[in-house]
Symmetry: C2
Subunit: 300 residues, 2 copies
């Protein structure tokens, strides 16, 4: 089985993924883009990490596009993506664990004021703030896929009262009104783009905090900045941005109420993700149902 | 039953504790130091928060000293403390929870490099570091009392391989050699004072990190600074210091590899601790065994 491996990987990453995938799917013959172009009809599957637009055109034998990344919004924005080929997201258990770690760290930071103590250290200020219990800090998790559920159960185990919300469920505003910390883990779709805007922030209680682990385009930056600057929101932890890397001089870098992470909340782990991709390749080969397929109309 | 309440509390704190204790032990008549001096022989118990040295002298009817704080090292350093009166530490479940939160936050920070990302944000630098799994980060917890055990079980639940160590157990150096992160939760005694010194740091593997949630006097500051500056240790999270508040101009305030917390890792919570103190007062009144007694020869 000939499989194209391509995308935004540097040489070292490509070698790591190639090694992990070869070990997990020894029956596959791995091709790079140049090799695939030599016999395009022979390519049966593509394992991709946000490939350059057009990379998957002209492969008439293609029967599976397996993403190495959990988010497929950039992949779907490629108008040349073959419309009939099944597309699978990556659902990597190690990545969900990593996301739960980052969410736990961010919630503990906000709950126990560690971002305030960090600012105090920079000023040389010694001041202790009142200590709340985990049970007094209400967390709302937006998105109830693998990652949202993993994050929610981890936070519940830490003692936080956790609510979950999914776009096709209940109204959002009443949930926001009862959240001290809201964590965005939604997929980026036309329906969720710009969801974190002025009405969203206004629905949160004064002093709430926002953690964005989804996509930068979920947030209307100017509205978030206004909500922080007015004192309505206490803090924002942002891992994702409209443009990445975040541009030099962007206000988030220096905003005292914003924690900037360099899209580091959760990386796909080749050691576990390669096995997930290999399982789908084997399913394709044996004619069994494919896992984690994207509903393109839905966007994830 | 007449009970003296005294210590390093400001007026608001005194009112909070007085209210919580009165509710938890309605049979007690609460006296301040001035009131106690009017009829010293009538005072049967003292509930104290690091009282000024000499405060507990001249109370011939005293049969219990109940500390509101978990650490009794400052209390025991008062040479005038009546030697025959039973002394009880505070073992507050809410404080153990708070300590587990702080330890979890600090371990997650070091494991996932969030202190590095914070430094990068201050420089406007976008750079992602390799992501390790929790199972790859070995944690050693020094001290196996209520707090040490609570911290250890919480970290194990987060996926970290956790070892515990107590002073009267196995040799320390072999344990240190296998620790990526070491958390100090030992009581401060003549035996543990200055334990975190050059030989301790040298026994840790290169790149290890230290979290001190015990007492400042556990650490030889110059040795820790040397271990950080030489590159042997990666980072230190310090909540406690030889002198508190940490002096202006102390090197820890500005050291790039040190996180300073203002002795905020875990506060005793009046809502739970008052019930613990009240249970001991009731045991005293009813002639039942007292809980959480300090072995003065041992120092905790």
């Amino acid at each position: 089985m000939k499989v194209l491996l391509c995308g935004e990987l540097d040489a070292a990453e490509w070698a790591t993924w190639r090694g992990a995938l070869s070990a997990a799917a020894p029956q596959a013959e791995w091709l790079d883009l140049r090799q695939a172009r030599q016999d395009p009809a022979a390519v049966q599957a593509a394992v991709v990490a946000n490939p350059a637009p057009g990379s998957l055109q002209g492969l008439p034998g293609l029967r599976l596009i397996q993403s190495l990344w959990a988010g497929v919004d950039r992949l779907l924005s490629d108008a040349t993506l073959p419309p009939q080929v099944p597309l699978a997201r990556m659902v990597d258990p190690a990545m969900s664990e990593a996301m739960a770690e980052t969410a736990s760290w961010a919630v503990l930071t906000l709950h126990r004021d560690f971002q305030v103590y960090a600012a105090q250290q920079r000023r040389g200020e010694w001041r202790v703030w009142p200590q709340r219990r985990a049970g007094e800090v209400r967390v709302l998790v937006l998105g109830q896929g693998e990652m949202g559920r993993c994050v929610g159960s981890r936070l519940a185990a830490l003692g936080y009262p956790v609510q979950g919300w999914r776009r096709d469920g209940q109204a959002l505003a009443p949930r926001l009104a009862q959240a001290d910390i809201v964590i965005n883990l939604l997929p980026l779709t036309p329906q969720t783009r710009g969801l974190l805007a002025a009405p969203f922030f206004a629905a949160l209680p004064r002093g709430a905090a926002v953690i964005n682990l989804g996509r930068g385009a979920h947030v209307v930056d100017a509205d978030l900045q206004a909500a922080l600057d007015s004192g309505h929101l206490r803090h924002a932890v942002l891992d994702v941005f409209h443009t990445e890397p975040l541009a030099a001089g962007h206000p988030w870098w220096t905003h005292p109420l914003v924690t900037v992470l360099p899209h580091a909340a959760a990386q796909t782990d080749p050691r576990t993700a390669a096995a997930v991709a290999a399982a789908n390749l084997l399913a394709l080969q044996e004619g069994r149902p494919l896992a984690h397929l994207v509903a393109r109309s839905r966007g994830y």
